[in-house]
Structure formats: C-alpha cells, structure tokens
C-alpha cells in the first residue's frame, strides 16, 4: 500500500514538474534570482574546492545572484551527481567535476544517468598527468622507460592512485600504443605514490604536476613525461609523450556541468556569466595565487567538444581493458 502511494506521489510530482518545465519553455526560460549551488563531488578543502570558491566569489555579480559551494563527496562522488540530476532543472544546481565521475564512473557503474545526460557549459582548466621516478633510478627518460620495459616486461612497478583514475587511464593508453607491460599498483593517491617513490619501493608513478613540483625542484625526483598536447606551465622542462614520439595525450579537463534537462537558453546564460566572472582581474589574481590555472577558461562550445573527445578516449581505453 505504502509503495503504491509513493509511486503515485512520484508520478504526480513528475507530471507537475513536466508541466512547469513545459510552461517555462514556452517563453524562453532564463535564470531566476534564487541562489545558485555549485555541487562538487569531492571533499572540502582540496584544489577543486578553491576553484569552485573562485567561481562563487567572482561570477555572482554577473549571474545576478548568490553562488554557494556545496561539497558532496559521499558514495565516491556519486551522491553529488545524483543530487544535481534530481534537482529541479532550472540551472540553479550545477556540477563542477573532472571526467572521472561523469564519464568513467558513469560508463563502468550502474547510474541513473548516461554520459550524454551531463551538459558541460564551462571548460575551466586541463590537468596534465605526469610520470615521474626517483632521481637515482635507472629510468630517467621516456625513451629509457620504454626500452627497459620492452626488455623486461612486467618488472617495473607503477603506482597510480585509484584504478581507472585520471592518473591510471593514460598508462593503459600508453601500454596499448607501445605494447610495453608494467605492474599496475593502485595507491591511496598522490601522497602515497610519492612516499613509495621516495622510499624506493616502486619504480614509476603518475600524478598531477603541482603535487611534485617541490620534489622536482629539490632534485629528489625526476619528472620524465607529460600526457598532454603541450608542456605543463609548472614543469616547463619536462617533455610531452608526443615530443618523444608516442602519440598519447590524455589531459583531464575540469568542467562545469548542468544536467541536460536544463533549458539550453539557461545553459548559455550560466556559461556566459561564469566566463565573465572568471575573466575579471580579481578572479585571475585569485587563480594565480592558488595555482588554479584559470587563465584560459573556455565557454560552452569548447567544453562540449572536449567532453566528447574525452568520452571517446575513455570508451576506447575501457574497451581495451575489458578485452584483456
């Protein structure tokens, strides 16, 4: 009985929702004055948190309303995505995330949405996965790694945070490209990978540049290659894999999304006002202080394009993994 009642209630509310949406669409819907919530599927205090707060502080006046940052790390980030997916589709609840949650996890886990249900509206920055070794290790360059790994397959231990994460998929792709084989070792994240490299327990590791800059500068570790189209700003001496002759680039875009049921006019409006906010001088100063890398923010079209590229790339890698 209760289940039935709940079902009826859901049906009624869905119907009502559809009505209101339909009504709203009739006269080109626009963003209202209610506060906007940026949901972040990560714990508070990290680097993405700072980026979200820079948006909140600078885009508010352009979007015409207050912007709050909500951190929802529950269920490996899926709780945050669910919250945005369930919210009223009026553009007041938006998501900020890299591709792990919206693409990789959506493709590999049971979710209420598909990859296409996320509509990226702002392309904030790209993270560049970087491979590094201890500075007294026999491998000190991309070429040496490939050569030695071809001679002795499955001997070098490679630490890479969570399986299928931003710093694991590029390794799989490189192995697909070159045919080399390494021992894949999941770790709790950049910190543990770094400790294991420094202690000489593992051979190679992958991380994002900011977390190893100080160790590279002090000469404790050598960054040997970057999976990106261009070199990293903070590690300008480190070559890309393309430069070394391997056509593997796997940057991780940080994007702002709405759920796809949000009317397109609102998506465009949000995209524009966030862009305006981030292009302001205050936002740029805040970004460079926090090393948030928001100096080349791109709008809706670029965001959609990179999202499609990344989706294709992730699908390809996942397909290769499933074949094994």
């Amino acid at each position: 009985m209760q289940i039935k009642r709940a079902k009826i209630a859901t049906a009624v509310s869905t119907a009502l929702l559809t009505c209101t949406t339909a009504l709203a669409v009739a006269d080109t819907p626009s963003l209202g004055s209610d506060p906007i919530r940026i949901v972040m599927p990560y714990g508070a205090g990290g680097s993405t948190d700072i980026t979200a707060r820079i948006i909140a502080a600078n885009a508010a006046e352009h979007c015409g309303t207050r912007i709050d940052v909500v951190s929802m790390p529950g269920a490996g980030g899926m709780e945050g995505l669910q919250f945005v997916a369930d919210a009223e589709p009026n553009g007041h609840t938006i998501l900020m995330a890299d591709y792990s949650a919206t693409i990789t996890q959506t493709l590999t886990e049971e979710t209420d949405w598909d990859v296409e249900d996320w509509s990226p509206i702002v392309h904030l920055t790209d993270w560049k996965p970087t491979v590094y070794v201890k500075s007294d290790h026999e491998i000190q360059s991309i070429e040496e790694w490939i050569e030695l790994a071809e001679e002795q397959p499955n001997t070098f231990v490679f630490g890479h945070a969570d399986p299928l994460s931003l710093v694991h998929l590029p390794l799989v792709m490189l192995e697909m490209e070159t045919g080399i084989q390494n021992v894949h070792l999941p770790t709790t994240g950049g910190g543990e990978t770094r400790t294991m490299i420094l202690g000489g327990h593992i051979d190679l590791g992958m991380t994002l540049p900011p977390s190893i800059v100080s160790n590279v500068e002090s000469g404790e570790v050598t960054a040997i290659g970057v999976f990106a189209d261009e070199r990293s700003d903070v590690l300008p001496d480190v070559p890309t894999f393309r430069e070394a002759g391997y056509d593997v680039s796997f940057e991780a875009p940080l994007l702002v999304y709405t759920y796809s049921s949000v009317p397109e006019s609102i998506q465009q409006e949000l995209s524009d006002c966030i862009m305006q906010g981030l292009e302001s001088d205050t936002a740029q100063t805040m970004s460079s202080q926090a090393s948030a890398g928001l100096d080349n923010v791109q709008g809706l079209e670029s965001a959609q394009a990179i999202y499609q590229d990344t989706t294709a790339r992730v699908r390809e890698v996942l397909a290769a993994i499933n074949e094994d």
Partner: protein
C-alpha cells in the same frame, strides 16, 4: 630551524588560539567530570565543525578538550567513586577512599599535579621522538606497513581490557564494516547490497560519532535514569553527612606529602608514556599497570587501596601520560594507536593534512605549533583545574535528562553538516545501534573503531605487497623490519598475558 620555531610559536600563541585552548580545557574538564561523558565524545561531536576553524585554533580546542577530559575524569572518580572516563577507573580505587576519609582536597590536588606532570613528560617524548621516527618511515613500503598494521590490530584487539576474544571479534567487525564500498585494488563496488549510497563506503565521522556518542548517550540515559541517579543522590547525602566536621584548612596538600607522591608520579609518567605509544593499549591499562608498579616500589604498599595519595598519583599520572605518546604512531606512520588519536587523525584529514610520514614535512609549521599547544594546554589545565576544583565536584551532578537530547541533536546536525549527506545520518544511527548492542553484550568499542580505521590500510598494504611480489605469500616475511614487527607482537602479547595472569 629558529625561523620555524618563531613562526610556529606565533601560530600557537595567537590570542584566538589561546582562547580556544582555554575553552577546550574548560569543556574537557567539565565533560570529563560528568560520568558517562568523555573528552573523546566531545571531540567526536565537534569534528564536523573543525573544518570551519583555522587549523591552529581547531587544534587548540581539541587538545584542550582532550587534556581537560583526562584530568576531569578523576574528579568524579574521587568525589563519587564513579570514574568519569575509563582511564580514571584506577584513580577511583584510592581516590574515593581518600575522600571518604575526609581528604577530598588532598586527593584532587594530587590527581591534578600528577596528571599534569605525566602529561608533560609524554608530550616531550612525542616531540623528540616523532620527528626522527617520521624520517625512518620512508623505509616503510607496503610489506613493512602490512606488518605494522597487523602488529597494531593484534595488539589493539588483544590489549582491550584483557578481553582478547571479544577484542578480536569487535576489531573484525570494524574491518568488515570498512570493507563496504569500493575495492581498493580493482575499484569494483562490493558489499553494498545494491544501495548506491554505500558505494563510497561508510564515512568515518558518522561511524565515530555513532559508536562513541550515540551509543554512550542512549546507554547512559537508560542506565543513569534508573540506577545511577539514585546512587548519586545517596552519595550526595553521604557527602553531606561527611562534610559535618570537615575542616578544609586541615585538608591542604602539604609540600612533604606532594614530595612523597613524586616517585609514584614518575613511575606513572614512564609507564604511561611507553604504553601510550603502543597502538591500542590505552589509558586504563596504563593506569592499572603504573598503579601496580608504584605499589611494588612504594615504601608503604599496605596503604594502597585505602586512600593512598601515592596510589592516586601513580594512576592519574599513568593515564595522563598516554596523552602525548599516543600520537607517536599517528604522526610517524599515520596509524592511530587509540580512539583519541583516531579522532585527531580524522581532524587532520578534515583540515587537509594527511596523517603519515609526510604529515610533518608537509605541515611543519602547524605541527610544531601543535607541539607548543600540547605543552601550553597542560599549564592551562593546571591553572584552571586549581581554580575550579572546588566547583567541579558539583558539575558531576547535572541531570542526564538535559544532556542526552542536546548530545543527540548535536550528533545528527554535525554529521549531516560534514558531508551534506543524509546517508551519513543513517550510518550514524546504525552505528549507534551497533554500539549499544555491543555494549549490552559487554564488548569493548575502541577495537571496532580502530579496526574500521586500520582495516582498509591493512587490506591495501597486503594486496599491494601481493601485487609487487607477484602473488607469492613469502614476500610478507622478506623484510627484516616486517619480521621484527611480527616477533615484537608475539613477545608483547606473551608479556601482557603473563602480567595479567600474575595480577589475577
């Protein structure tokens, strides 16, 4: 180095930080003095709010609560014979006797001084040992870490109040709960029974608050209401009758008496510091062991159990001396050795600092500031304790009827606020229920939480070792450090078992 000390002391002695230390100590002594409430519980409840404070202030508050709570427990132990915290159980043996003999003030002052001396000793050991230990920690890879985790888990379970089987069982439940969610190696979701909200595993905060606060509050509520209140009321009547003919001027702790307790205090400080550094051993074990040793080395062992000030001093210094050293495994290896250390570890994580070998190098300033705060909080404890002792005995009389709803609401709001997750509130209630059930069956709760925290690390280290060793189990004993841990665990358990046998 000098720069560092200056910067750290600027952080630590900022007026706001000092204010939070005062507030924390006050809160800690108060809560510790109320039977059933403890500093650990207050820290668990405050965890979600830590994120909104500057790290130095948050640390000041938590350290204050912790230290205040350790001493506060002895107040109700001495005044009513009801230990306010588990660590104060040994204190109540001689403390309550001393009070019945008309020496409450002497007993309380002895407790305060020995508590502060024991605590300070332990802090100094932490400061001078954690730094070099953290440097060694880099030589720890997955194989060594698994040995250390296994060592900790075995000790934690085995040393929990002498109930080896129950301790192990509860630690296993903790590990099992921690396995819910994502498999650390393959990333696949496991043991969630199809509930999407569990895919990320159970969050630490609701489990901690549920186990420590909710279960305790409900349990105390049910129990205190019926029995303890009556008993406390009897005690008040008894106390009133005692007070007739009580002359406070004759009940001052003299210098000679203070000096006579010093040997016991030093024994307590040494034993407490050592036991505190072992993962899982805990305050009450430290207190009882130093009580036993002090009695053996005392000139008047026959007074023990009859209101001996030496007995109070050894027990109280022993339990307080675990305060600093319990952080040693947390700082050096990221392994919490006690429930309190686990709570501080969670606070570090909330403030963006990862406990473990890189904790010190990544956050040097704030950790040195914490060192200053640890020492400073002892002084505050001494001053506040001395000033407020006369009033504190009365605080222990607060009706649980007011406390229980307040703690309950704080627990739910705090849990929700930490992650904006309703799932976490359900986890909190479930953990509370589990805690109550286990308490009713007289299982110790600390091993559960420690198992929950250490379990994932142990599993990960084990599976990492297996991957690196190509699936060969012998890889686990290929490191001399690992072998050392396995041998040490065996010897320690043997020693403690023998010691416990001898006591019985």
């Amino acid at each position: 180095m000098l720069d560092l000390i200056i910067q750290a002391s600027q952080l630590a002695f900022h007026p706001y930080v000092l204010m939070y230390v005062f507030l924390g100590v006050l809160l800690g002594i108060t809560l510790g003095a109320i039977p059933g409430l403890s500093g650990d519980m207050a820290i668990a409840l405050l965890l979600p709010f830590v994120f909104f404070l500057e790290p130095a202030m948050a640390m000041g508050l938590l350290v204050g609560i912790y230290k205040g709570g350790l001493f506060g427990g002895s107040i109700s132990a001495i005044s009513f014979g009801v230990p306010g915290t588990p660590g104060a159980a040994a204190t109540s043996i001689d403390g309550y006797q001393a009070k019945l003999k008309g020496k409450p003030s002497k007993a309380l002052h002895t407790a305060l001084y020995s508590s502060v001396i024991g605590d300070t000793t332990s802090d100094l050991v932490l400061i001078f040992i954690a730094v070099p230990l953290a440097a060694i920690a880099l030589t720890f890879g997955p194989i060594e870490f698994f040995a250390l985790y296994a060592f900790s888990l075995i000790l934690i379970a085995a040393l929990s109040q002498g109930m080896v089987a129950k301790g192990l069982a509860v630690a296993a439940i903790g590990i099992l709960l921690a396995m819910i969610g994502r498999d650390p190696i393959t990333g696949a979701v496991r043991m969630t029974f199809g509930i999407p909200g569990l895919a990320g595993g159970l969050s630490l905060i609701p489990v901690l608050i549920g186990i420590f606060a909710i279960s305790e509050v409900v349990f105390q509520g049910a129990k205190l209401w019926r029995r303890k209140v009556d008993k406390l009321m009897d005690d008040v009547a008894e106390q009133a009758s005692l007070l007739q003919g009580y002359d406070i001027s004759k009940d001052k702790l003299t210098w000679t008496e203070f000096k006579s307790t010093l040997k016991a205090t030093y024994i307590g400080a040494a034993v407490g510091t050592f036991i505190g550094a072992l993962p899982g051993a805990g305050q009450s074990l430290a207190a009882f062991m130093s009580y036993g040793l002090a009695q053996r080395f005392s000139k008047r062992p026959e007074d023990f159990g009859k209101g001996s000030l030496e007995g109070i001093a050894s027990a109280e210094s022993g339990n307080s001396a675990t305060a600093g050293s319990t952080f040693i495994p947390l700082f050096a290896f990221g392994i919490p050795g006690s429930a309190t250390a686990a709570l501080f570890g969670a606070a570090f994580i909330l403030m963006g600092m990862t406990p473990g070998p890189s904790l010190l190098s990544d956050n040097t300033e704030i950790i040195y500031a914490l060192f200053f705060t640890l020492i400073f909080a002892n002084l505050v404890n001494l001053v506040l304790g001395k000033l407020l002792l006369p009033y504190y005995s009365r605080i222990a009389m607060i009706q649980p009827g007011y406390l229980i709803p307040a703690v309950f609401i704080l627990a739910i709001v705090g849990t929700y606020a930490a992650n904006n997750s309703t799932m976490d509130v359900w986890v909190l209630l479930f953990a509370g229920l589990l805690g109550i059930t286990l308490k009713l069956l007289s299982f110790p709760l600390a091993p559960l939480v420690l198992g929950f925290i250490i379990g994932p690390g142990a599993e990960r280290a084990l599976r990492q070792s297996m991957i690196m060793g190509g699936g060969d189990w012998w890889v686990l004993v290929k490191s001399p450090i690992a072998i050392g841990f396995y041998v040490a665990a065996f010897i320690l358990i043997l020693l403690f078992t023998l010691a416990l046998r001898a006591k019985k």
